[in-house]
């Protein structure tokens, strides 16, 4: 054994990027150490063999299950970031305030120190970036297309080609059959089929989204049972979560997982890299060395580690984040219809807006039914007394669709982060975030939202309320250490190598130069796999 560098690679972070990168490295025979905070989930998440509706009607234990052990779901404020987290999934943000502090007037961050990272609460939507979008991000098209296929085979994606094929999984084979949509989604699809010419003219395409939720058993995982517990439990591991990959990797002799490890800094040595950090339980210093280091801990946390290591305090780094809003709409013909309990809580439909028909400047909305979260969360938003609001929602809820709209994001000077020293916080520094849209960006977004509303009306969905939550609510963050072929400071080469280093790689979304509106997770995983292949080539 090499006593100086007992590991070929250290991977920092266990989210979708970290898990996928580590799998590729380990499968190539490399010896990998993963350093991770690894905060576990602690709330029982499966009440047994019943569907969500049966559970609601019969279980005497649902209070703890739905409210959380310390009433964590009873937030008394307007809808904000992370409100959709069930008590069973809220562990993904545990300890973040203490260890990953930030300050911002305009932006909110949702980061994770959990085992499996934010992947533990991922909405499971899978969208490939088009060749044009990949090029805008700075990602090599051919390699990414191969990587998408590899990741798709590993995680299992359910999707049957329809009108949104070019925006989701075009170019990928071996897909599983699509998830069955619920009644309201089926109803909307029927309207779409009759009116698609009008919608296509204005650049709208609707279909059932590709999801990392199995409809057939693969790799020891079971298909979804449509019990509607998707964001509480994960029966049969039907939904892909990075923890599934990590649990498999931990059985491999070439892989070592070290939890409670909060990495703060790296130093390049003559023959490799040394990382330092703190044990999150006892505060003791941790150190590890390897030939190479791969940072996979999110656009913010990777930037924190790099800024500390280069002593790059008080200097701006760029930031990308999809502007996000949601529209609540009602389908009047579905008022007062009792829905079937057989459903999933994932997005039922996806609608893409591509007015130029170039698959380059695309906005998208995911359409959800409101069926597996407590109704009281919605009632506080209605301008009626609670008793009347409750009674009305019994009719309205089955007809309610919530559309989360994502817009693409480009870099600008008004979007940046910087790390500032602060001896009063645990890590000795905190991230300051500035994010503002230009007037022209605001105008484009406003026009797009109006176009979506018009499209919803064509689909016989009546928009009743639009909410624009604080910036950052899309939870899609990227671009802090962007790709750059000239090797400027705080940038990354196309193969993931951090400029100014010989053995430090970045394999998360920090490197993207542009952020398409489509969900980012599949591309994060594909890119991490691609970077791992680049590292293997250099071995």
């Amino acid at each position: 054994m090499d006593t100086v560098n007992p590991y070929d690679c250290i991977v920092v972070g266990s989210g979708p990027s970290g898990a996928m990168c580590a799998q590729t490295l380990v499968e190539s025979g490399m010896k990998v150490l993963m350093l991770d905070a690894g905060v576990p989930g602690s709330i029982p998440d499966d009440p047994g063999h019943m569907n969500f509706q049966q559970f609601r009607m019969q279980s005497d234990a649902q209070d703890l299950f739905l409210l959380g052990p310390s009433f964590s779901t009873l937030k008394w404020s307007a809808a904000g970031i992370g409100d959709q987290l069930t008590p069973q999934r809220s562990y993904v943000t545990d300890k973040v305030k203490e260890w990953l502090p930030f300050k911002s007037e305009t932006f909110r961050v949702m980061e994770s120190l959990a085992y499996g990272g934010l992947g533990g609460a991922w909405g499971l939507g899978c969208y490939r970036f088009s060749s044009k979008e990949l090029a805008l991000c700075g990602l090599p098209v051919k390699e990414m297309n191969d990587a998408y296929q590899c990741v798709s085979n590993r995680i299992g994606i359910s999707y049957s080609p329809d009108d949104i094929f070019p925006y989701t999984m075009e170019g990928t084979s071996a897909l599983l059959p699509a998830i069955e949509p619920d009644e309201i989604a089926e109803d909307i699809l029927n309207t779409y089929k009759k009116r698609k010419d009008r919608l296509h003219q204005s650049g709208f395409y609707l279909g059932i989204p590709a999801l990392a939720l199995l409809t057939k058993a693969i790799n020891g995982r079971q298909p979804t049972d449509y019990s509607n517990f998707d964001f509480y439990s994960n029966r049969g591991n039907a939904a892909y979560r990075p923890s599934i990959t990590l649990d498999q990797l931990r059985k491999n002799q070439n892989f070592e997982y070290r939890g409670d490890s909060f990495v703060t800094i790296f130093n390049e040595t003559g023959e490799g890299v040394e990382v330092e950090g703190r044990n999150m339980k006892d505060g003791s210093l941790i150190k590890a060395t390897a030939k190479k280091l791969v940072l996979c801990c999110s656009a913010f946390s990777t930037a924190r580690i790099v800024a500390r290591s280069f002593n790059h305090f008080d200097q701006p780094m760029p930031l990308l984040c999809n502007p996000y809003s949601y529209i609540t709409a009602i389908r009047l013909s579905t008022l007062g219809k009792v829905p079937s309990p057989r459903k999933t809580s994932t997005a039922q439909l996806a609608i893409f807006h591509d007015p130029q028909k170039q698959n380059e400047d695309v906005a998208m909305a995911s359409l959800y039914s409101y069926a597996a979260l407590p109704v009281s969360k919605v009632l506080k938003e209605i301008p009626l007394g609670f008793s009347d609001a409750r009674a009305l929602m019994q009719y309205i809820l089955p007809a309610t669709v919530i559309a989360g709209i994502h817009h693409p994001d480009k870099r600008s000077e008004e979007k940046h982060i910087l790390l500032k020293k602060n001896p009063d916080v645990k890590t000795g520094d905190e991230l300051h975030i500035r994010y503002a849209l230009s007037e022209s960006e605001k105008e484009i977004i406003s026009k797009r939202e109006s176009a979506f509303k018009k499209a919803f009306r064509i689909l016989r969905l009546l928009p009743v309320k639009k909410i624009s939550p604080v910036f950052g609510s899309s939870i899609h963050y990227a671009g802090t250490l962007p790709f750059d072929s000239q090797g400027k400071k705080l940038t990354t080469a196309a193969d993931g190598l951090l400029s100014g280093t010989n053995n430090v790689f970045v394999a998360d979304g920090s490197t993207f130069q542009f952020l398409p509106a489509k969900g980012i997770t599949l591309t994060l995983m594909a890119n991490a796999h691609r970077i791992a292949l680049e590292i293997i080539k250099k071995k």
Partner: protein, 127 residues
């Protein structure tokens, strides 16, 4: 008024019957854990609502319109959230099949809600 009596008033308003023991225990526990400070005026209005429970729906309606995140509504919201998770009350929160007269039912509710809003606004002005 003791918290368990408060739970009974709120349960009768929101669920049309007294709460079971577990709902009451949860309410007491939640209010103690989630400390909700009420200002002097808010405390006075809250106490009136509890001692004259017929006022509660109107005050709630008026606050929902004027000041939806008022701490008084927070107390009601806590009981509402708890009742939603109790099997005796869950059916009140699940979708109901529409009757042939469901549009009358919805319209009636909206008219009643409007009346409560007016009464509540007057009550808040007086109080």
């Amino acid at each position: 008024m003791q918290l368990h009596e408060e739970a009974c008033v709120l349960s009768r308003y929101l669920g049309r019957k007294n709460p079971d023991a577990q709902s009451t225990r949860l309410y007491v526990d939640a209010v103690e854990k989630i400390a909700i400070p009420l200002s002097g005026d808010q405390k006075r209005i809250w106490e009136k609502c509890l001692s004259h429970s017929w006022l509660l729906p109107s005050i709630d309606a008026a606050l929902a319109w004027n000041e939806p995140y008022n701490p008084i509504r927070n107390r009601i919201f806590i009981m509402l959230s708890i009742l939603e998770t109790r099997p005796d009350f869950t059916h009140l929160f699940l979708p109901v099949r529409r009757s042939p007269f469901y549009l009358f039912s919805i319209t009636g509710r909206l008219i009643a809600a409007f009346m409560k809003l007016i009464i509540g606004k007057i009550a808040l002005w007086i109080l």
